[in-house]
């Protein structure tokens, strides 16, 4: 039975077309997994479904009735309930489990003025039993584990008796055994006839739970897989795409080893990670969300401790405890999510760019504006930032140009190791090419590590591609005549893909 039918859905923000005609069916008693890289339009689709945003074109129906929610409350009342990625959006941590489970009862029209705790707890226990949750309903939610909180968020969603339940990356902070509890709960809901839209990158989740896989790329559905057995590699290909790019890389084998990663253990894995990056070489580290990419980057930049194994730079042991120590050792990192981790919104371009090296632009701590502006203007020219002058506010630039400033920041001084974590996030293709070209042109004298989930990006910039899967290296490829099928199989973690195309 069709629970929800979406036809020709379109959405634009200004000139940016985020959704370009989405057709999607959700059937009762079925789990549809929605896959898509960052910026593919998944979250916009979810926001339209749950009433946060309106569509520009297209129709939605819910059980045959036209569905066009006025706001989030309307969507919930109609039976489309969403559990968002950030768990604490779904629960109220300072209240007990019973109150959390029964919260909608308190806001109901005609609810009595006085809260009767005893009755509340009885009702809450019934809800919990229905869902197979074994919890003390008196416990405070903030004292519970992440997994339990996630369960409560879902249980709360179930209290609305939804026809369609949307789960946005529900396992992103759960361990494998905790995730299994979640899946058992989802199995139960599936039997009860709920249509579930499940958004995730984790292949292990998808293998476990999916009845159908729908892939999105660039605002369109790029693949639907519903024939058992599901074609997981095909789904990853459809999600990441590899329209073999027209950028040609002259692969450099690099000079002496600069950064050596030796038997470092990443979370959720019992296989240590070892590799080295050489002078003048650009190494791309790729893998899905949760593969350990970010963790590795954080370790090399002193944001997370290296518990087992060690790092070496130029043969010397290297164990930074903070970003400051890493920078002092010549290890620079351009972080992902620039708006939270990199941009100083109050500053202009020149000050944003020179921020890490203010010491070099000052004498006796007094800043030389002339020097700052000179260096910024040079870098703006080199890397091609489109702006009026170096004194434009950073907020006036487009995403791609902001990212150029953030990367230019770390090219002002010479580094031994340059880490670029998702350098092409929210960057248009033109800016991406500019950045890639500049990184490769300046690669001599340092080792460059690029952490990127999208294969296109890795293929465009790297001499060598290392594939991580669940905290272990599953493949290493020289970037010439790569066997893409093998690469994708490794990214998706297919067990039979142990071929190492060297």
């Amino acid at each position: 039975m069709k629970a929800c039918e979406i036809r020709g859905l379109e959405k634009s923000f200004g000139r940016n077309h985020v959704l370009r005609g989405i057709d999607l069916d959700l059937d009762s008693g079925e789990v549809v997994v929605l896959m898509g890289a960052n910026g593919a339009g998944k979250s916009t689709l979810v926001k339209i479904l749950c009433g946060f945003q309106g569509a520009n074109a297209g129709t939605m129906t819910l059980e045959g009735q036209p569905f066009d929610p006025a706001d989030a409350a309307d969507a919930i009342a109609r039976g489309v309930v969403t559990v968002h990625q950030s768990i604490d959006d779904g629960v109220i941590p300072d209240l007990d489990v019973a109150t959390n489970l029964m919260l909608n009862r308190l806001t109901e029209h005609g609810a009595s003025l006085l809260v009767r705790d005893r009755a509340l707890r009885v009702a809450a226990r019934k809800v919990a039993d229905n869902m197979g949750l074994d919890l003390d309903v008196r416990a405070r939610v903030s004292d519970l584990s992440v997994a339990d909180r996630q369960m409560i968020a879902i249980a709360r969603a179930m209290a609305y008796d939804p026809k369609v339940l949307i789960l946005d990356e529900p396992t992103s902070s759960l361990s494998a055994s905790e995730a299994e509890r979640l899946f058992a709960l989802l199995d139960r809901l599936r039997e009860q006839g709920v249509a579930i839209l499940y958004i995730s990158h984790r292949m292990s989740d998808i293998r476990r739970i999916a009845d159908r896989i729908v892939c999105m790329r660039d605002g369109k559905i790029s693949g639907v897989f519903d024939q058992a057995p599901l074609d997981y590699d095909g789904a990853v290909t459809a999600m990441l795409g590899h329209r073999m790019t027209d950028v040609n890389i002259d692969v450099a084998s690099g000079g002496s080893a600069i950064l050596e990663v030796e038997r470092v253990m990443l979370d959720g894995s019992d296989t240590p990670v070892s590799f080295s990056a050489h002078d003048g070489e650009v190494v791309a580290i790729t893998g899905l969300l949760g593969s350990g990419k970010s963790q590795l980057a954080d370790m090399i930049f002193g944001q997370k401790p290296v518990k087992t194994g060690q790092l070496r730079i130029d043969g010397q042991p290297y164990a930074p405890a903070s970003a400051g120590q890493a920078v002092a050792a010549g290890v620079f990192m351009s972080s992902k999510d620039r708006s939270t981790n990199a941009v100083i919104p109050d500053f202009d371009i020149a000050n944003n760019m020179t921020l890490p090296f203010l010491g070099s632009f000052s004498r006796l701590s007094l800043l030389s504006k002339r020097k700052q502006r000179g260096a910024a203007t040079d870098m703006i020219k080199q890397i091609g930032v489109k702006c009026q002058s170096d004194q434009d506010g950073i907020g006036t630039l487009s995403g791609g140009n902001q990212q150029k400033v953030m990367i230019g920041r770390w090219l002002l001084e010479d580094s031994r190791v340059l880490l670029l974590d998702e350098p092409f996030q929210g960057v248009d293709i033109g800016a991406r090419r500019d950045i890639g070209r500049h990184i490769r042109a300046t690669a001599k004298g340092r080792a460059t590590l690029v952490f990127a989930a999208e294969l296109d990006e890795a293929l465009e910039i790297a001499d060598r591609i290392i594939v991580l899967h669940e905290g272990a290296i599953v493949g290493t490829h020289e970037n010439s005549n790569i066997d893409l099928d093998a690469l994708i199989a490794q990214v998706s973690g297919a067990k039979d893909a142990q071929t190492q195309a060297n």
């Binding site: 930049f301 981790n341 100083i344 919104p345 921020l355 701590s365 004194q391």
Partner: protein, 338 residues
């Protein structure tokens, strides 16, 4: 386009023009307002709150807030009196003791916020309470003056030294004889020093970066915790300077003075957001904000406005300045210079 220019101009210079308009209006309508004596009087009336406001500006820059400045100032007032009158210390050691006390309080504030993760408002509120109580304990809640009876029955022999009183009462010759009081000079020097520190040094720039996006500042290698603690220590030291000057002016350890210091100085710092359209804490704006309040009150007083309307006037100015800052600047969007 033209509208936008006018709006920009209004945001940038509106407050300064308003200030000049006020000066002009009072000069014409209140005889004696436009004189060196009255100017010196205005400066003197705002010197101490101005110094405190400059300190709180530093904490605002790192996106913090120091509610304890008023009580640090009164503690410094009582401590200097206690040191000289009861412990019979010299002026120099009394001043040093007070500055040290201010730095230690700032350090504790900073550690509470940075290491113990207490929210800034709560940590400094707690410290304020603690200091208000602490300063009363040694004297059993009494004011301190030469000749007072001590708990053990003896009489306090010490006195405020002349050198100490000089800090509060001496006036330098300028245009007119004995015109500019020492506190005004110290206020101007502090303002200049804080301005140079915040605007021209790399440390100041990093503090602004921390206030704007703490995580990004940490990821370029700035020692965020150390800068935050430094901001609270600056705030503590400037507040203790304010207290010393107040003690030197009063000549006694008056338990009841300094009640308004916190609100007045915070108001000055917040009014400063609106000056030159900065929309953020800045030393120049803070100094102008303090002056603005002083000029307004002096003018109104000379036009025979009763004293009890003063707080109302200050509050009105603050609200208008905040609208300037947050409403108009938000309309302009995020295009500003540093």
């Amino acid at each position: 386009m033209n509208n936008e220019k006018i709006l920009n101009f209004a945001i940038r210079f509106g407050f300064l023009i308003l200030l000049m308009g006020l000066v002009l209006y009072f000069s014409l309508s209140a005889s004696g307002f436009a004189s060196p004596r009255s100017a010196a009087f205005i400066l003197q009336s705002v010197a101490i709150t101005g110094i405190l406001a400059l300190g709180v500006t530093c904490t605002l820059v790192v996106d913090g807030f120091d509610l304890s400045i008023g009580s640090v100032a009164t503690t410094s007032l009582m401590l200097s009196a206690y040191a000289m009158v009861i412990l019979e210390m010299s002026a120099f050691s009394a001043v040093m003791l007070c500055l040290f006390m201010g730095a230690v309080v700032g350090l504790i504030n900073g550690l509470l916020i940075v290491k113990f993760k207490v929210p800034d408002l709560l940590a400094t509120l707690g410290m304020m309470f603690l200091l208000i109580g602490l300063q009363r304990i040694p004297t059993q809640g009494n004011s301190i003056a030469t000749g007072m009876k001590l708990p053990d029955g003896s009489v306090a022999e010490g006195a405020f030294s002349q050198a100490f009183l000089w800090l509060g009462r001496h006036r330098f010759d300028m245009v007119v004889e004995r015109l500019v009081p020492v506190p005004v000079v110290i206020f101007l020097i502090t303002a200049l020093a804080i301005w140079v520190f915040l605007e021209l040094t790399r440390h100041g720039r990093l503090m602004y970066a921390i206030g704007s996006n703490e995580r990004a500042a940490a990821l370029v290698g700035a020692n965020v915790n150390r800068y935050k603690i430094a901001a609270y220590m600056i705030s503590g030291v400037t507040a203790s300077i304010g207290g010393i000057l107040l003690a030197a002016r009063l000549g006694r350890g008056d338990i009841a003075s300094g009640n308004n210091l916190l609100l007045d100085s915070v108001a000055a710092a917040l009014i400063g957001f609106a000056v030159l359209g900065a929309a953020r804490p800045n030393a120049f704006g803070t100094a102008v904000g303090a002056l603005f309040v002083g000029i307004l009150l002096q003018g109104l007083t000379m036009m025979n406005a009763p004293y009890y309307t003063q707080d109302f006037v200050k509050g009105a100015v603050l609200v208008i300045a905040l609208v300037f800052t947050f409403y108009l600047s938000a309309k302009r969007g995020s295009g500003g210079k540093t």
